[in-house]
Amino acid sequence: MNTLIGVLKELGGLFVEDGAFALAIAAVVATAALCAFVIPRAAPASGAVLLLGCLGVLVMNVMRVPHRHSGAERSEEPGIHNHDS
């Protein structure tokens, strides 16, 4: 049972590792979906929202990391072990 729970947790970890990062991606997708479905005229813009939103989320997230770790020894992020593809 513990092995099964461990496997399920690791499966979830394949998609969500940094909760804030995953949430930001979900927010970008939701905004793009809003553009596409709620304002049909804005459908072409939803592609741009999706692409630029994802790129922006990526840059903003990685730029936060040095501040979290500044002064500390450079190491693996907390909660992430090495079996972590």
Binding site: L11, L50, C54, R74, E76, D84, S85
Partner: protein
């Protein structure tokens, strides 16, 4: 031309991602083999492969029954979460913000953990060793299966993309059996960087298709997304390095 671009990107992404996953699974299976011998390691790995085959056989045909747009949207979102997670980590590692993944240290850690398990649960040591091997093959294999389905689904490319992934796994297994050591020299972060870029690009493309976006240039848009993600990631590494240099004493 456009079709072959899509095909080439999908096959390359699946091959490189499978290389990475196979190297990681091999490290654990080798650690089990070194501690408890090849029998539990091999049986555990075979059981993992059998369960993976069963999952593919059962779930594969179901995919054909899912309507295309919901399939593209759900796979696209999962690809975004999965691919951008890889890319984020590869950027952080390339910039030196977090430690690089080291197969040799994973091997040493896994070996020590298995020896400790062996000491604590002596009667079940073969079972536990086999379970470790099974879990590693199953988890890394599920990632391979997901990537193959994600980049190939809905385009009739499951067979060639699956063959590319299988070829990568067989190459790694053959080298691992020959050298009996973890493949620590594989440039894993560079591979993850490349795969992260490609999967993120596929993720944006599929999610957009699922939302009904008509991408300019159709499939050619994937190439543009790859270039954009690559340029952004390289710029992020440079920015992070500069920020790290400014913080360092």
């Amino acid at each position: 031309m456009i079709g072959s671009l899509h095909f080439g990107s999908a096959v390359t992404a699946a091959f490189l991602a499978s290389l990475v996953e196979a190297v990681e699974a091999l490290t654990i299976v080798l650690a089990v083999a070194m501690v408890r011998g090849w029998r539990p390691a091999g049986l555990g790995a075979l059981a993992g492969l059998a369960l993976l085959a069963l999952i593919v056989v059962v779930l594969g045909p179901l995919l054909d029954r899912v309507p295309l747009h919901p399939l593209q949207l759900s796979i696209g979102i999962l690809l975004l979460l999965f691919g951008m997670r890889w890319l984020r980590k590869a950027i952080l590692r390339a910039a030196g913000a977090i430690a690089p993944h080291d197969e040799a240290s994973v091997f040493a850690g896994e070996t020590a953990e298995l020896r400790e398990e062996e000491r604590r649960h002596a009667p079940y040591r073969d079972w536990l060793a086999g379970l470790a091997s099974f879990k590693a093959v199953l988890l890394e294999g599920l990632e391979v299966v997901f990537i193959v389905i994600a980049v190939a689904a809905g385009r009739g490319m499951l067979l060639p993309v699956g063959i590319a992934a299988l070829a990568a796994c067989l190459i790694v297994a053959a080298i691992g059996l020959l050298v009996h050591r973890p493949l620590a020299r594989v440039p894993e972060n560079a591979l993850k960087f490349a795969v992260g870029v490609m999967l993120s690009a596929f993720g944006v493309f599929w999610t957009g298709e699922g939302l009904g976006v008509a991408w300019p240039g159709a499939d050619l848009a994937i190439l543009a997304f790859i270039v954009l993600f690559l340029a952004t990631a390289v710029a992020a590494v440079a920015l992070l390095r500069a920020a790290g240099a400014a913080v360092a004493p």
